[in-house]
Amino acid sequence: MMRHGAGSDWSVRKAGAGSTGASEAAGPRRVRRSRDSAHRCPLSEGSEHSSERTHSNSPGRQPAPHPSARTRPRFPGGSIMDATVAEYIRRTVLKMPKDEIKMMLQKWGFLSEAQLQTLNFHQIKDNISHEVVQLCEENSADIKQAAALDIIYNHIYQNKRMWSVYQMKKSGEEDEYFDIADFKKKFKRRIRSALKNVTITFKEYEDNAIWIRVAWGTPYKKPNQYKPSYVVYHSQTPYIFISASMLKSNLPLLCQALIVASNYHDIREMELRSHSLNSLKDIVFKRYSQNFETYTPKPLQGGNVEPENADIRIIHENGREKERIHRLNQEAFGSGPQPQLEFAQYKLETMFKSGPKMDVLDKKEPFRCLVKFSSPHLLESLKSLAPAGMADAPLSPLLTCIPHKARNYFKIREKKKSFVSP
């Protein structure tokens, strides 16, 4: 009898799991191709349209030649949309979860409520995306609108991206009044003075966050809309959050433009990275409940160490030790929820010190290590180490300093002795 690690019997496996049947009822599948030149048939395309939707035919409208599009798809209705823009919008819609598409399109505001009513959100996403593109064609969407839709998606799904934190420095002047229009103008001007082929889009949010999307091209190529950089800037702070899925070569230009636009004179990258943008903000804006140095001398009420044991016959042997650990943890981490980071990395270049009885390595050179901690919620998991018996309390300051030093990348060298050791 063969036994597999997972307990399943090999000889009776079904193929069902691997089969490809579409999970949604496709229904009569309407074939809507993205309107690129290969499938273009200007005159006969009219017959493809479903009669369900009212289609705004404006025979009198003359499509104006669009300078940048070479082969423009046209169909009755006369709107012109660049094929690349259409495809980009289609793919952006495809990224969205089906039950959120309507909400995102509404936030976008480019399609009218009436147009949105005409969309059937119960069909498969592929069809929805095609219909959205058609509506965009009616409204002659250009790359600016497409980029705006992309920002909306990325703002909601900001945690899919990896964010790095940068800090800007002023040369000591007073905080000037922040003029958003001036900021945008200077930013665009600085970027464009170095590189013409860029798409720059701004969006402001209620929490004073300015989102900037930059799609980069080269002197000879149009911007690649699929690998833009995102910048989030809170104007009352010196912090910039950047998510760059681009070549590092554009980063200096981006940083330059940011300091020019915001009237700072320098910018440096902090050793702080995470997927959770809000947690990064919590850390640098000090929005989490920190531990301050004031020590509360009275013991914690109720000693909430093991709340689940209501049975009074159970006595905790190490009650005092548990309380001590709990108290030290509170001092180190504070009592509120921790900012959410996924990893911390330490490059150790310290000396190896063997235990007193061990007759081992005694080199004069550092014992080089790279230690990486990962967790869905790193700080919470570090906080639970001592109570679980996996670590001493107090935990090492190398770990507890992460939020208030605002970094999760460290290089640790041996402390230099300030006196001659015997």
Partner: protein, 288 residues
């Protein structure tokens, strides 16, 4: 000791899933082509039944069985047996090459402990390594089980054995710049699971091991313990965390890497026999 590089090249730089196999009953080396034919028919029949293969692609599976005379420890070992499944899409032209979709091999590297005690008519190849889709492993395993009345079991690797491997492998000399000696620990039982990767510069790891190991060519449990304790102590000094309380799930060096679920990758042909010997030992102790 060094096997023909041609014969062993297939084994390197692939992640192999490990199984222990009980001795095969009435296995005949001379009948390899028969077996290949029978296994091929079995796979085709199972596919007809719609079981356990990837749906949607029209593939003919070709089976090849070969003996690898060089892949064994001593004359007492059986030569390794390699099973390869290749596919040729029916749709493509006659010129298209067969694509290797799955390979598995049976092996015994100094497995005398087992073969000594086994009656005639039984062939001992206690270690089985597979690479490729689980569904194919399932098919091949089922056929061998039916045909030779043997039993397969996944070979997990305990933290104890992983620490043997990392200590041993860290001590090997590698000509050029090697990758780090990495130990990966997992602490699943916390409120939020925590993984710790502890990677040491290979020169420094080797330097440490060299001071621990007293007799060249011989490794004792005590030496492995000292090595690990040193690593734990260095870590504790910095982070105040007891790594010894965590679960060692993976070790990785320039020689090879091993995961506790029983997955290994061997990078250097020079050390292939040594690694296989260790794995054969683990397989045998699982069988017995």
């Amino acid at each position: 000791e060094s096997a023909d590089p041609q014969q062993t090249a297939f084994a390197l730089r692939k992640a192999w899933t490990l199984y222990s196999v009980t001795p095969l009953h009435r296995f005949r080396r001379s009948r390899l082509s028969d077996y290949a034919r029978l296994l091929s028919a079995f796979i085709a029949a199972e596919k007809q039944k719609g079981l356990a293969v990837e749906v949607g692609v029209e593939l003919d599976i070709k089976v090849a069985l070969s003996s690898l005379a060089e892949l064994r420890g001593s004359e007492l070992d059986q030569a390794a047996l390699l099973v390869q499944l290749s596919s040729r899409s029916r749709a493509s032209s006659k010129n298209s090459e067969d694509k290797l979709v799955w390979s598995g091999w049976f092996c015994s590297m100094f497995g005398d402990e087992l073969s000594e005690n086994v009656p005639e008519n039984f062939t001992c190849l206690p270690l089985f390594l597979t690479h490729g889709a689980e569904s194919y492993t399932s098919l091949v395993g089922s056929w061998f089980q039916k045909t030779f009345d043997c039993c397969f079991r996944r070979l997990a690797i305990s933290p104890l054995n992983l620490s043997w491997m990392v200590a041993m492998w860290a001590g090997y000399k590698l000509e050029r710049a090697a990758s780090a000696v990495e130990l990966v620990f997992s602490m699943p039982c916390l409120s939020q699971p925590l993984d710790i990767s502890y990677a040491i510069h290979p020169e420094d790891a080797k330097a440490l091991w060299d001071t621990v190991q007293k007799t060249p060519g011989e490794i004792t449990q005590g030496e492995v313990d000292v090595f690990m304790d040193c690593l734990y102590a260095h870590f504790h000094r910095h982070f105040k965390i007891h790594l010894s309380a965590a679960k060692l799930v993976k070790v990785s060096t320039g020689i090879a890497s091993a995961h506790c679920d029983g997955i290994v990758k061997i990078l250097h042909s020079q050390y292939l026999p040594g690694v296989l010997m260790l794995l054969t030992e683990l397989a045998i102790s699982q069988i017995q």
